[in-house]
């Protein structure tokens, strides 16, 4: 039961208003429907769908997953059915939800992002786009686009001119993050998603082979959380743009860490594999925590880290 009905969990990420700050991260939640037998999707603040591309992509060779201490390595390689199939097969289900639907997109070059954005901005039921310029598992586009502030500025500017729908840029870690974030803001991005997985690898010593079919992959889960918190803190301190924080969130205290660091909302990724109900539990726990502390508005906590000065 709702012990604290007066606690206000609403938050906004630029023009994107959310009923609560808990979203699910791209690539870890499919297109929502896969989890609908396990949780009431409408409880979520939002769903960020698996990244889609203009044409279908078959993804990388297996094995695509390897577990590491408190972490998960993946090299999915953006396997997806392409935008047409997304619109005809996945969107009808998502449209019916009352939770915010944010569609993640990626391309190999600027033109592809623009065509995807123009196409999707005409569809009903999409609240915003997340523009993935940070996938470590593809040869073209991905991290290569997201690390250069000039490229990011140009992409953001052209998207801003092309569509009215809010778009959020998802940036890679370990780039000149403040400079790239500034470029995204100046280009017209509504917000930033921080962070995508951390480039990493693992080796099977018996077989003397990489554990992933793609050799390298992206690391997620609790082991990257401190890296992500620092990046969120640094960016929100230096650049005036809202941030969706993510990386290793497993419980409501992790959410608060990102919130205090400066994130206006967060996304839960790998934890969905451990427990498909984790996001719903986090929302409940967060509300109870705030209620018990007499904090009536979640959004008041954003960026309220005390540095002891």
């Amino acid at each position: 039961m709702d012990k604290f009905p007066d606690v206000d969990l609403t938050t906004s990420v630029g023009r994107v208003k959310l009923k609560n700050p808990i979203l699910v991260a791209a690539g870890t939640f499919g297109y929502g429907e896969e989890y609908s037998r396990y949780i009431d999707l409408n409880i979520l603040g939002g769903i960020i769908t698996k990244t889609i591309t203009l044409n279908p992509r078959e993804g990388n060779p297996p094995p695509r997953l390897a577990e590491t201490p408190c972490g998960l390595l993946n090299s999915i390689g953006l396997e997806n059915p392409g935008v047409d199939a997304f619109i005809s097969q996945k969107l009808p289900f998502l449209k019916e939800l009352t939770t915010a639907v944010i569609v993640s997109i990626a391309g190999e070059k600027e033109e592809e992002y623009l065509r995807l954005a123009e196409r999707l901005s005409k569809e009903e039921g999409i609240r915003a786009l997340e523009v993935n310029v940070s996938c470590p598992n593809v040869k073209l586009g991905g991290v290569a686009l997201g690390k250069d502030s000039g490229t990011v500025f140009s992409l953001a500017r052209r998207l801003k001119e092309a569509i009215d729908m809010p778009f959020i840029l998802k940036l890679p870690p370990f780039v000149d993050i403040v400079e790239v974030a500034q470029a995204a803001r100046e280009g017209g991005a509504e917000a930033l998603s921080l962070i995508n997985t951390v480039p990493a690898m693992a080796i099977d010593v018996e077989r003397r082979r990489p554990k992933l079919g793609n050799i390298t992959g992206g690391l997620s889960g609790p082991c990257i959380k401190p890296v992500a918190v620092k990046i969120v803190w640094e960016v929100t301190r230096k650049v005036d743009i809202p941030v969706i924080g993510m990386g290793g969130i497993m419980d409501f205290e992790d959410v608060l860490e990102f919130t205090l660091a400066g994130a206006s909302a967060v996304a839960v990724g790998t934890a969905n594999f451990t427990d498909p109900g984790v996001s719903v539990r986090i929302i409940k726990d967060l509300k109870n925590y705030l209620g018990a502390k007499n904090i009536t508005k979640f959004s008041e906590l954003v960026g309220r880290i005390s540095l002891g000065e």
């Binding site: 690539g27 870890t28 939640f29 499919g30 896969e34 989890y35 609908s36 037998r37 396990y38 949780i39 009431d40 999707l41 409408n42 698996k50 078959e58 993804g59 060779p61 297996p62 094995p63 695509r64 997953l65 390897a66 577990e67 201490p69 408190c70 972490g71 998960l72 993946n74 999915i76 396997e79 009808p92 289900f93 019916e96 889960g221 609790p222 497993m250 790998t270 934890a271 969905n272 594999f273 451990t274 427990d275 498909p276 109900g277």
Partner: protein, 272 residues
């Protein structure tokens, strides 16, 4: 499509299941029985359950196990300790609780035409075949013959052989080191047996075990034009078809072990 709340919450609650028993079989093999909700009675042989191992987030991923039987007590799995997760399972006691998703994936489809069903298991791959043999018996009312071939490394690792009984069922055991039964690989034992047949029509093969064994079964099935299904393993992430982390190479693109599988027709898999 509007979500039916009732269903959502009832299935979410049912994730917590009670341990009925956890029996040491031999060597590092165990059988776990959990009390499951009624809908598990619809489980198919070859489907799996995805178990949270550990009380916190280490190990991070759940672990998949084939359903080895569905009884009035609940669901059985047979497992072998190979690492942290399976060790955690081996320490569970009666009355403790476990967090389980399932039944998941697509199981074996029992051939309606076949008169002879050949079940081939390697090591702990015997687990789903126990359930499958029972289902074949139930669905065909004893009108077919079931040949079960089980392969193990050595005599000390032979498990579950007394789970395969019945008038129309014959059991053949192979040990790689020759310490019991047929000396050599179980796939070879199957092939040696097939040579005695005058006609190979009406045979259907179902296999579960190490990938090398499955490959050998696929090869002999192609050679003798027998229709076969195999249970494939990969590291499973979400288990729900969402992450695309569990794929194997199929002839028409990647296939998800947790969704299109874990049981596949050998024709759909790219073996090379």
């Amino acid at each position: 499509m509007v979500q039916r709340k009732e269903e959502v919450f009832s299935s979410a609650q049912k994730l917590r299941v009670e341990v009925v028993s956890n029996t040491h079989l031999k060597a590092n093999f165990y059988r776990l029985t959990i009390k499951t909700p009624a809908y598990f009675s619809k489980a198919q042989p070859g489907q799996f359950i995805h178990i949270k191992v550990g009380d916190d987030f280490s190990p991070l991923l759940r672990r998949p196990f084939s359903i080895s039987n569905v009884t009035s007590f609940g669901v059985d799995i047979v497992y072998r300790i190979v690492g942290k997760g399976t060790r955690f399972l081996s320490e569970l006691r009666e009355g403790e609780y476990l967090d389980v998703l399932g039944p998941l994936g697509r199981g074996f489809s029992i051939s309606r035409e076949a008169k002879i069903h050949i079940l081939v298991g390697g090591g702990v791959g015997v687990a789903p075949l126990i359930f499958l043999a029972r289902k074949i018996k139930e669905e065909t009312e004893g009108k077919v013959s079931i040949l079960v071939f089980l392969g193990f490394k050595r005599k000390e690792e032979i498990i579950c052989q007394n789970q395969f009984t019945g008038v129309n069922l014959s059991l053949h055991i192979a040990c790689e080191d020759g310490s019991y039964g047929y000396r050599g690989l179980v796939s070879q034992a199957v092939e040696d047996y097939l040579i005695n047949f005058t006609s190979l029509s009406g045979i259907s093969i179902y296999a579960c075990g190490p990938v090398e064994m499955l490959r050998a079964v696929a090869r002999l099935s192609f050679n003798y034009a027998i229709s076969s299904q195999v249970l494939m393993e990969e590291i499973i992430g979400c288990g729900l078809g969402a992450c695309r982390g569990c794929v194997v190479r199929g002839v028409a693109g990647y296939l998800r072990v947790c969704k299109e599988g874990p049981v596949f027709n050998i024709r759909d898999i790219a073996w090379s």
